[in-house]
Amino acid sequence: MSENIDNGSEDFISTCKEINVEEIIDSIKKKIKEKKEAGVLKQKDIDEINDMELLPLPDFLEIPNVYEPHLYPKHKIEGFEPFNLDFELETGTAKKILGKIRKIFSPLTRFMIRPFLNDLKNLEVELHNQNKEEIHKLKQLIPIVFQSKEYIKLLHNFMNNMIVELSKLKIEEELLKTKIKVMEDKVEFMENRERAVEKKLFKE
């Protein structure tokens, strides 16, 4: 048995000792050169075919949910605090400080505003009632806002599921097309086979 020629990784082919590799390579190069010179084989065509890549059908599991990560993040986004709708006009520490200031200055201010005190008191009560009504109205709206938010989220999920299902259908359609092609080939093959059998039988 002959030894293999190991001409290094630069060689296009390797085979047994009895076969002249260089002769084969020269012959191949000559053939290609002739075709190129005759204008039959163009470098552009070669490159085009070489660069052609398979385009695999997409995998429906890879279809991303476009809404989820942006609109409904599962993790807290840094620097973002959800807006609290359960607020009061004066709360906590601010209320205490205001109370203290009021205590210090109230005798003086009462004296100064004595002529308008009743009017001011009336105005304060009126404003307070107005705010109360507004807050009450807002609080009544909160469940509706939440409901709408959930509804929109549901719609987004529905849209995403629709995209996934349509993609699945498209992929399925492409696969069915391939299966039809395979079936067509098989039917054609069977027809040819049938003809060949008939020919053989008829001969006999």
């Binding site: 048995m1 002959s2 030894e3 293999n4 990784s9 060689d11 296009f12 082919i13 390797s14 085979t15 047994c16 009895e18 076969i19 084969i24 012959s27 191949i28 190069k29 053939k31 290609i32 075709k35 039959v40 084989l41 070669i46 075919i49 070489n50 052609m52 398979l54 385009l55 695999p56 059908l57 995998d59 599991l61 992929i171 492409e174 696969l175 097309k177 391939t178 299966k179 092609k181 395979v182 080939d185 098989k186 093959f189 040819n192 086979r193 060949a196 059998v197 020919k199 053989k200």
Partner: protein, 353 residues
């Protein structure tokens, strides 16, 4: 002494399954009791293959169990829990990256397979690779007691008569190129089609390409291959699918050349099969291909499609060169005869006992 074998899956025509059958037959011929246990198998073989979960009834410390390892599966756990002497035959695992675009489940199983393989280190008595390439991977992973067992193949089945109708059908003077194997991404069928398109357009218009092999589970890959075929406007490319043995023999006998462009191979059984049926082989040098070619045929080191197409034409036209290639292949084939590989297996096994 009893020697039993474990498989993850046995499918008809599969090289690993065929090897398991050949080993079982060889062992039985030599008076050794032997059964095959598998997780998945075709119902057709339910009288020949036993479910792997039933092995407990057969288990014995004096037994030797051989696991044909090629993918991650629950069989690994069962195998490792058994008290019997353990041998694995590593057929290599296709890198998961090839399957990412086409078969996520298989990609996951292949990834798991490589992880599982590490679990065998120091837990088995012998690790065999069906090529030096596979043995090298075993050594890299830390296996110490390793060896090489070339795929046990039965070439006698190729002595059967070919399907006369197929011969009648395709024996029409066209030059036929052949690829045999599963239609999966690592086999680079797209490269074979590209080469054939150059071959047909610029060197031999009177030609045909047979792509014979199973594509079930890889319909998305097949679909892209069909698109490529129509994009290239190449004619006479036949995706034959899975065929019974007598039809496979016909395709081999009808072909003028066997072309293999796979990017990852742990062994590549169709190469010795082509040698046996006297078909010149042109194969790309990847994985264990060079070793399997065993200095026969023509090994291509670069993916230059036009040059490969011109090379095919040169081999098909030049009868003198063709004869030389076939002669080299006949010499190389001697390594793969059943009695030789069967004896190697028995020697390994006897050393264990």
């Amino acid at each position: 002494m009893k020697i039993h074998q474990f498989l993850t899956s046995y499918s008809y025509g599969d090289a690993i399954g065929n090897e398991a059958f050949e080993i079982r037959n060889y062992l039985r011929e030599n008076g050794i009791e032997s059964e095959i246990f598998s997780l998945f198998y075709h119902p057709k073989y339910s009288n020949q293959i036993i479910n792997y979960l039933e092995y407990d009834k057969f288990s014995n410390e004096d037994n030797i169990i051989i696991f044909h390892f090629s993918i991650g599966s629950p069989v690994t756990k069962k195998f490792l829990r058994m008290p019997d002497k353990k041998v694995i035959i590593y057929h290599n695992i296709t890198p998961y990256i090839f399957f990412l675009d086409y078969h996520r489940v298989l990609a996951k199983d292949c990834y798991k397979g490589r992880v599982e393989l590490k679990n065998f280190v120091n837990k088995i008595d012998l690790a065999l690779g069906d090529s030096k390439y596979n043995e090298g991977e075993l050594k890299e992973m830390g296996f110490t007691n390793t060896g090489i067992l070339p795929l046990v193949m039965d070439f006698e089945k190729f002595d059967r008569k070919a399907d006369p109708v197929l011969i009648e059908l395709f024996n029409d003077g066209k030059n036929n190129l052949l690829y045999v194997g599963r239609i999966i991404p690592n086999k680079k069928i797209e490269d074979i089609i590209k080469i054939f398109s150059f071959y047909q357009k610029y060197f031999d218009g009177n030609s045909r390409l047979f792509i014979v092999g199973e594509y079930r589970g890889f319909e998305r890959y097949l679909s892209s291959l069909y698109s490529l075929k129509s994009k290239l406007e190449v004619k006479n490319v036949h995706f034959i699918g899975h065929v019974p043995e007598n039809e496979l023999i016909s395709y081999f006998k009808l072909s003028n050349l066997y072309l293999h462009m796979s990017e990852h191979e742990g062994f590549c059984a169709p190469i010795p099969e082509s040698y046996y049926l006297n078909i010149p082989v042109v194969a790309f040098n990847a994985g264990a291909v060079k070793e399997t070619m065993n200095k026969g045929g023509v090994l291509v080191n670069k993916r230059d499609f036009v040059k490969i197409a011109a090379l095919l034409e040169h081999i098909i036209r030049d009868s003198h060169l063709r004869k030389k290639i076939l002669k080299s292949q006949q010499e190389s084939l001697k390594k793969y005869f059943k009695n030789k590989t069967g004896k190697i297996l028995l020697d390994y096994v006897r050393n264990l006992t």
